[in-house]
Symmetry: C2
Subunit: 203 residues, 2 copies
């Protein structure tokens, strides 16, 4: 049996999305086929509209639809702390925690020589320039890249690049996730959690 | 922080797809943002194009872009066997097995009174009509609905509806999946596999 071309084409395009295999793509295609014309149009419009309107903030490289992103243009944010993350999704995750009141810098990737990602391929130069051109008190930079090999390498590289600029650099804490059972924690995490212990009683 | 409207809209539309939660929708949205204009346009076009061109085959209710679907319009297929399945994806799965040379009938769902799906909501009437209007030898109908509660109920209902029409009705075999270890099979499947055993030596 030969499948309709437009169905094959749709499944092929859908399966190019991250995390969507051939089976999920097929399922999505059948779902779209049985959806209403309006729903399908809404999805297609949302895709094109987002692609047309969204761009990168020229200061922090976060995703925005205005000249400066919502964080950079907010005067109530602490201008003296910059949190460095790998991806725009990380900004959303940190904002959701409600624990951070400063600014961001999105690198759009992590160093990975194996995949041909060097310092030029991610937005490290933009971060250094941003800090060099800054007037007033020195900033604190929080390195909130992932705790993967690539994230660690990126964190280390940014830390060294920032050394000549005389800024305070910190790295987010390692430890057990909240709600995590000690028994199931891997030994490296557990070792880091013990090394990073905090005193809870005053003597 | 307020997210750009077009980003929120895109994430909302993507998370309406089956199997796509809020986190995956966010990931897909960021992926689309970093894809090339052409790739995004291709996806959007494929969605609209498929929705515009694809329709149901008037005979078997499979998805098609021609008047009759590829199976129904193929004279080499065995016209005397009709395999009844729940969804168009099931046709693709069976075709991939290469074990079936007959025709299909797609019900577009399974009976599920809990969810308000009765015999009128799926294409059972079309099947009965198709068999009644047929001339020549009686057909064999293979019930290949899922082995879920809904699939079983649908199979039973179709079987009873076909009784007055004097056709041979069969149900696909229950048993262990190929490559399955006996140890891990659930007891119901194992019971059905033993009940459905086939003689392998001739006496």
């Amino acid at each position: 049996m030969k499948y309709p071309n437009s169905l094959i084409q749709l499944i092929r395009e859908l399966s190019r999305l991250p995390g969507v295999g051939p089976k999920s793509a097929q399922r999505l295609a059948f779902h779209l086929f049985s959806s209403s014309d309006q729903d399908v149009k809404n999805l297609s419009d949302a895709i094109l509209e987002a692609k047309k309107i969204l761009k990168l903030c020229p200061v922090c490289y976060n995703i925005t639809d205005t000249d400066l992103c919502a964080v950079c243009s907010d005067p109530t944010r602490d201008q003296d702390i910059i949190c460095v993350v790998e991806e725009p999704g990380d900004v959303i995750a940190i904002e959701r925690s409600g624990e951070f009141e400063g600014l961001y810098h999105v690198l759009h990737g992590a160093l990975s020589p194996m995949n041909g990602v060097g310092p030029e391929q991610i937005k490290i130069a933009g971060l250094l320039e941003r800090i060099q051109n800054r007037e007033g008190a020195p900033v604190e930079v929080i390195l909130a890249t992932s705790t993967t090999v690539e994230g660690e390498a990126t964190s280390m590289f940014v830390q060294r690049s920032l050394e000549p600029l005389g800024v305070n650099v910190s790295r987010i804490a390692y430890g057990l996730p909240v709600g995590g059972a000690l028994e199931y924690a891997d030994e490296v995490t557990l070792g880091r959690a013990i090394a990073g212990r905090r005193q809870v009683t005053k003597i």
